[in-house]
C-alpha cells in the first residue's frame, strides 16, 4: 500500500512522516521517531501500556490508533511530561509513594492519570477508578498508584491556587493603578 505523507506534532515538535495506512500511532512513535518511552503491550487495546495523550489531553491507546488519522494533530507522550529539568507532580508522586515497580506499565499509567488531572484536579475515587480502568498493573495492584494520583492532584490544586492568587494579585495592582 502506498505510504501517505502526514504531519504529526509530538511533545511540541512537528514531524513530517511517510507512513503506511496500516501503521499505528504506537509504531510511528516508537519505530519512526524513536520515542520508546511509550511501551508496546498487547497491541489490542486491553492492557493500557501504550497510552498517550491527544490534543485535548485525552487518553489515547496508541496501539489502536492509525497514524494516518493523526495527520495534522498533536500528541503528548511520557517523554513530554517532565517540566524542564523537573519532574511533573504526577511523576514526583509516583516516585515518592512507591507507585512504580517494574516500570513497564508506568508510562501508560502516568498518561492515563494525566488525562484525568489535566481536566480535573479534584478527582473523586470514582473518577480515578474510571480513568485507570483501562490499565493493568500486576506489580502494584493499583493501590499505591491511586495514592500517587490523589497526592499529585493535591499538588496541582495548590499550584492552581497559587496561579489564581498571583493572577488576582496582578489584577489587584492593575485596579489600584487605575
Amino acid at each position: 500500500m502506498a505510504k501517505q505523507l502526514i504531519t504529526l506534532t509530538v511533545n511540541g515538535d512537528e514531524h513530517e512522516l511517510a507512513v503506511a495506512p496500516y501503521q499505528t500511532l504506537l509504531e510511528v512513535l516508537r519505530d519512526e521517531l524513536g520515542l520508546i518511552g511509550t511501551k508496546r503491550g498487547c497491541t489490542a487495546g486491553s492492557c493500557g501500556v501504550c497510552t498517550v495523550n491527544g490534543e485535548k489531553g485525552e487518553a489515547v491507546l496508541s496501539c489502536c490508533a492509525l497514524a494516518v488519522e493523526w495527520h495534522g494533530r498533536s500528541v503528548t507522550t511520557v517523554e513530554g511530561v517532565q517540566e524542564g529539568t523537573e519532574l511533573h507532580p504526577l511523576q514526583k508522586m509516583f516516585l515518592e509513594h512507591g507507585a512504580v515497580q517494574c516500570g513497564f506499565c508506568t508510562p501508560g499509567l502516568i498518561m492515563s492519570a494525566k488525562a484525568l488531572l489535566d481536566v480535573n484536579t479534584s478527582p473523586t475515587e470514582q473518577d480515578i477508578n474510571e480513568a485507570m480502568a483501562g490499565a493493568i498493573c500486576r506489580c502494584t495492584g493499583h493501590i499505591k498508584v491511586k495514592v500517587a494520583i490523589r497526592e499529585a492532584a493535591k499538588l496541582l490544586r495548590a499550584r492552581e491556587l497559587q496561579t489564581n492568587e498571583a493572577a488576582a494579585g496582578a489584577a489587584g495592582v492593575n485596579n489600584g493603578a487605575r
Binding site: G41, T77, L87, V100, P107, M132, I136, H142
Partner: protein, 749 residues
C-alpha cells in the same frame, strides 16, 4: 522473642527507588526497546494441534518472500536440548502441544516475518491427545514418552514419622479435595528476546529475566559453549512473578535465527501468542487428609498432589519438592505423608505462576485447615494460635530451624486490626471473613548445590560509591534495597550509591531473584562487601581520630569515635586520604553469602491476612471489601517497598483466586488475551491495611527476611475462606469465578 533493634540511620526509612526517575519519564530501556544495526525480526510457526505427527514441511513459499533472511526447521534444532529434557524443535516429527514450535523465520520486519510464517505449509496427521492429568495416568491411556511409564514424568513419595500410626490415634480426621487451574503470569512486559549471534562463538542476549546467571548457563549448555561466551544483558525486567526463572524456547530460537542469518534477531510474543508461548502453573489436584486430637491439636497431614506437567518436565519437579517441604512449615506435626505426581499431558510444559506452587497449595491446605478447625469447634484464628509454629521450631527432618518467627504475632495483630472477634460468625448473609496464614523461606539452597550471591563495592574520594551486584530488579526495588544496606554500613545515603547490574560480563555471581532470596542472600553479600570496604578505610580513620578501629562510628557522612562523638571527620575525607596518600589504597570491598546449611534457608518469614468479602448471589461476583495483611519481614529495610510488595501480592493472589484461569479445551487456550483472561482493574481493588512485624532475624542483613513471595501465600486462602464464610458452603476449585459461585449458591439452597 523480640531482639534489640540496632539504632540505624538509613535502614527503616522510606526511600524512593533509585531508578524511579528513569521509569516515570520513559527513559528506562526494556528488551523490546533495543535497536541494533541490521536487526531482524522473528516469527514462529506453531502447531495448531495438541498432538500430531508432522508429515511434511514446505517452506518454499515462505523462503521466496522478499525480506526473509533465515528459516529454521526441526533439522536446525537437532541436538539443541532445553530445560530438563526437551528438544528445542521436535526432532522425531511429533508435536506434543498446541503452540509447539515447528519452524522459525527471521525477516527484515515483523510484518514480513508474520506474512512468511503464514506461507509455511505443514501437513499433520492428528494423533489422540491427553488433556487431563487424571485421564493421563489411567491404565490404557496413550503414552507420551517412552521413559515415563503411565505418563508419570516424576513422582515424589515422602513419609515423615509414622503417619498411619498417628492417624489411628487421632480423634478427628478430615479429608478434602481441591483443584487449582492453569494460569498465566501476565507480566506487563511480554516475552521478548533479542539475540546477537552474528559473531562466531559469541552470543549476546537482551531479555527480561529473574536470573541472568541461570539463563547464561542453560543457553551456553544448549549451544555447547563456554558460559563466558554467552553475555546476558538484563536491562529492566517488566515483572517476574516466578515466571522468568528459566530460559524458554524463544530465547534459543532467536539465538539460532541470529546465527543462521548472521544478524541480530528480536523475537517477541505477538499479542495472543503470549498465552501459548509460555504458560505458568498447570492444573493441580490436591487430596488432603489430616488428623487432630479433640482438644484441637493438629497431629498429621497427608497430601496427594497430581500435577498437570505438560508435554515435558520443567519447573513442576521443583514444585513437588517445595510443596512436600512446606507441609511442615506452619504446624509442628507428629507425622506427614506426601505424594506428588507429575502427569504428562498434551499441554505446554508448565512452569511457575506467582506463588511458586506454594501459594496455590496453600489455597487448598488453608481451606482444609479452616474446615478442620470448624470440626474441632474452633475458628481459624484460634486454630492458628493453638497450632502455629514458634521461634526455635525445627522441622522433623532436621533441615530447618526458625531463628525468628512472628507467625502468632501476625495472627494476633491481624485479627485485632480486622476486628475478627466482632465479625466472625456475626456477619449478614453473603458477607464473609476469612484468614490465611503462611510461611516462606528466604532462599532455597538445595535446588542447586549452593545459594550464592556476591557483591562488590568501590568507594570514591567524593564519598560516593558504586555497588556491583548480579541480582535482577524486576520491580521489587531490590537494587535500592541493596543501596540502603550498603549506605547504612558506610554511613552515607543510598542516593550516594550507584547500583551497577545487568551485565554478566561485569556482574558478580548471583543465583538470581527468585525463591525470595534477594533481600536475605544478596543483602548479606552486600553488607559483607560494604563492611570489607569500611575495613579498608578504618586504619586511616582511626589514625585521623586517634582512636581504636573498633570504636569508629560511620554515620551521616561522618566518621567519629564512639568515645568522642563531637570530633567528627567527613567520610569523604577518610576515603580521599586513603587513596591520595602514600598508602594509595583504592577502596574496593567484596563479599558473598551462601547459606551455611547443606540444604534450606537460615530464615523464614511469616504472615497472616484477613479478607472481608461480599458475594452477589445472583451474579456470583465476589467483591473483596478489605484486606488486612501482616508480614514478619524480620526488619523492613524500606517500609514503603514492603507495603508495595504486600499490595502487589494481594492483587496477584486475589486475581488468581477470583479471576485467573487459562481456560483449556482440547489443548487449546480459549481465552488468550488480556480482555478474556481477567485480572482486577483499579476499581476492583480493596482497601489494604498493612501491618509490618519485625522480629529482627539474627541471620538477616540488619535482621531482614524476604517479602517477595510470602504475602501471596496467605491471600488466596484468606479470600477463599471468606467466600466460604459468606456462602455457608465451600467451592473446591480455583478460581472462584462467578459461574462457580452461582453454582455453589444454587446447590446450597
Amino acid at each position: 522473642m523480640a531482639r534489640a533493634k540496632e539504632d540505624l540511620s538509613v535502614v527503616g526509612k522510606n526511600w524512593a527507588r533509585l531508578d524511579g526517575a528513569d521509569k516515570v519519564t520513559g527513559r528506562s530501556i526494556f528488551a523490546d526497546d533495543v535497536r541494533l544495526p541490521g536487526m531482524l525480526y522473528g516469527k514462529v510457526v506453531r502447531s495448531p494441534h495438541a498432538h500430531a505427527r508432522i508429515l511434511n514441511i514446505d517452506i518454499s513459499k515462505a523462503a521466496a518472500v522478499p525480506g526473509v533472511k533465515a528459516i529454521l526447521t526441526p533439522e536446525d534444532g537437532k541436538d539443541v536440548w532445553i530445560g530438563m529434557n526437551q528438544p528445542l524443535l521436535p526432532p522425531d516429527g511429533v508435536v506434543k502441544y498446541v503452540g509447539h514450535e515447528v519452524v522459525a523465520i527471521a525477516a527484515t520486519s515483523e510484518r514480513i516475518a508474520a506474512k512468511a510464517a503464514k506461507l509455511v505449509e505443514v501437513e499433520y496427521e492428528i494423533l489422540p491427545s491427553l488433556t487431563d492429568p487424571r485421564e493421563a495416568i489411567k491404565e490404557g491411556a496413550i503414552q507420551l514418552h517412552e521413559k515415563a511409564k503411565g505418563n508419570i514424568g516424576w513422582e515424589l513419595n515422602l513419609d515423615q514419622g509414622d503417619p498411619d500410626k498417628v492417624f489411628a490415634e487421632c480423634d478427628v480426621i478430615r479429608e478434602d479435595e481441591f483443584i487449582t487451574n492453569a494460569s498465566h503470569n501476565c507480566y506487563a512486559e511480554y516475552h521478548v528476546c533479542v539475540s546477537d549471534f552474528s559473531q562466531a562463538g559469541k552470543l549476546v542476549v537482551w531479555t527480561p529475566t529473574q536470573t541472568a546467571i541461570l539463563f547464561q548457563k542453560s543457553i551456553a549448555a544448549a549451544f555447547q559453549m563456554d558460559e563466558s561466551d554467552v553475555r546476558l544483558l538484563t536491562l529492566n525486567t517488566g515483572g517476574g512473578f516466578t515466571g522468568r526463572t528459566s530460559a524458554r524456547p524463544h530465547h534459543y530460537l532467536s539465538a539460532l535465527l541470529s546465527r543462521k542469518a548472521g544478524r541480530p534477531v528480536r523475537l517477541r510474543a505477538a499479542g495472543d501468542e503470549e498465552f501459548i508461548m509460555c504458560r505458568a502453573g498447570g492444573k493441580v489436584i490436591y487430596k488432603l487428609r489430616s488428623g487432630a486430637s479433640k482438644d484441637g491439636k493438629l497431629k498429621v497431614i497427608e497430601a496427594d498432589l497430581l500435577f498437570d506437567n505438560g508435554a515435558y518436565s520443567e519447573s513442576q519437579m521443583i514444585v513437588t519438592t517445595l510443596t512436600s517441604k512446606y507441609l511442615h512449615a506452619l504446624y509442628p506435626l507428629e507425622a506427614s505423608r506426601y505424594r506428588g505426581r507429575l502427569a504428562h499431558t498434551n499441554h505446554l510444559p508448565y512452569y511457575f505462576h506467582h506463588g511458586g506452587g506454594l501459594a496455590q497449595m496453600q489455597f487448598a491446605l488453608g481451606q482444609h485447615m479452616d474446615e478442620l478447625a470448624h470440626e474441632l469447634g474452633m475458628d481459624s484464628v484460634e486454630f492458628g494460635l493453638r497450632n502455629g509454629v514458634e521461634e526455635g521450631y525445627t522441622t522433623p527432618d532436621g533441615t530447618t530451624t526458625y531463628h525468628s518467627c512472628g507467625l502468632k504475632e501476625c495472627i494476633e495483630k491481624t485479627a485485632a486490626l480486622a476486628g475478627w472477634k466482632d465479625k466472625y460468625g456475626k456477619l449478614p448473609k453473603y458477607k464473609g471473613i476469612g484468614i490465611g496464614i503462611g510461611a516462606m523461606a528466604s532462599g532455597a539452597k538445595g535446588l542447586f548445590k549452593h545459594d550464592t550471591s556476591a557483591a562488590m563495592i568501590h568507594v570514591s574520594t567524593d564519598g560516593k560509591a558504586s555497588l556491583f551486584i548480579g541480582l535482577p530488579d524486576m520491580g521489587q526495588s531490590s537494587h535500592t534495597t541493596m543501596a540502603i544496606i550498603a549506605a547504612e554500613v558506610l554511613g552515607i545515603s543510598p542516593t550516594d550509591i550507584k547500583v551497577v547490574s545487568g551485565d554478566t560480563d561485569t556482574d558478580p555471581f548471583d543465583v538470581g531473584a527468585f525463591t525470595q532470596r534477594g533481600t536475605f542472600n544478596t543483602g548479606n553479600a552486600t553488607k559483607s562487601a560494604a563492611l570489607d570496604a569500611r575495613a579498608q578505610l578504618s586504619g586511616r580513620a582511626a589514625s585521623l581520630l586517634e582512636c581504636a578501629e573498633d570504636d569508629l562510628v560511620w554515620r551521616d557522612h561522618q566518621v567519629y569515635s564512639r568515645q568522642n562523638p563531637d570530633n567528627k571527620i567527613p567520610f569523604r575525607k577518610v576515603v580521599d586520604q586513603t587513596l591520595n596518600s602514600t598508602e594509595g589504597r583504592f577502596v574496593m570491598g567484596r563479599g558473598y553469602y551462601n547459606s551455611p546449611l547443606e540444604k534450606g534457608s537460615m530464615a523464614y518469614s511469616f504472615g497472616a491476612q484477613i479478607a472481608e468479602v461480599t458475594v452477589d448471589p445472583n451474579t456470583g461476583v465476589v467483591t473483596v471489601d478489605k484486606m488486612t495483611a501482616s508480614h514478619d519481614v524480620g526488619r523492613a529495610i524500606n517500609p514503603r517497598v514492603v507495603e508495595g510488595q504486600i499490595d502487589g501480592q494481594i492483587f496477584s493472589g486475589m486475581s488468581q483466586v477470583l479471576y485467573e484461569e487459562t481456560i483449556m479445551e482440547g489443548g487449546q487456550v480459549m481465552n488468550p488475551s488480556r480482555l478474556d483472561y481477567k485480572m482486577p482493574r483499579a476499581y476492583e481493588m480493596p482497601e489494604v491495611e498493612h501491618i509490618i512485624v519485625e522480629t529482627i532475624d539474627p541471620h538477616g542483613p540488619f535482621g531482614a527476611k524476604e517479602v517477595g513471595e510470602g504475602p501471596i501465600v496467605c491471600t488466596m486462602q484468606a479470600i477463599a475462606n471468606a467466600v466460604a464464610n459468606a456462602l455457608g458452603t465451600r467451592i473446591h476449585e480455583m478460581p472462584l469465578s462467578p459461574w462457580r459461585v452461582v453454582k455453589a449458591v444454587k446447590t446450597n439452597k
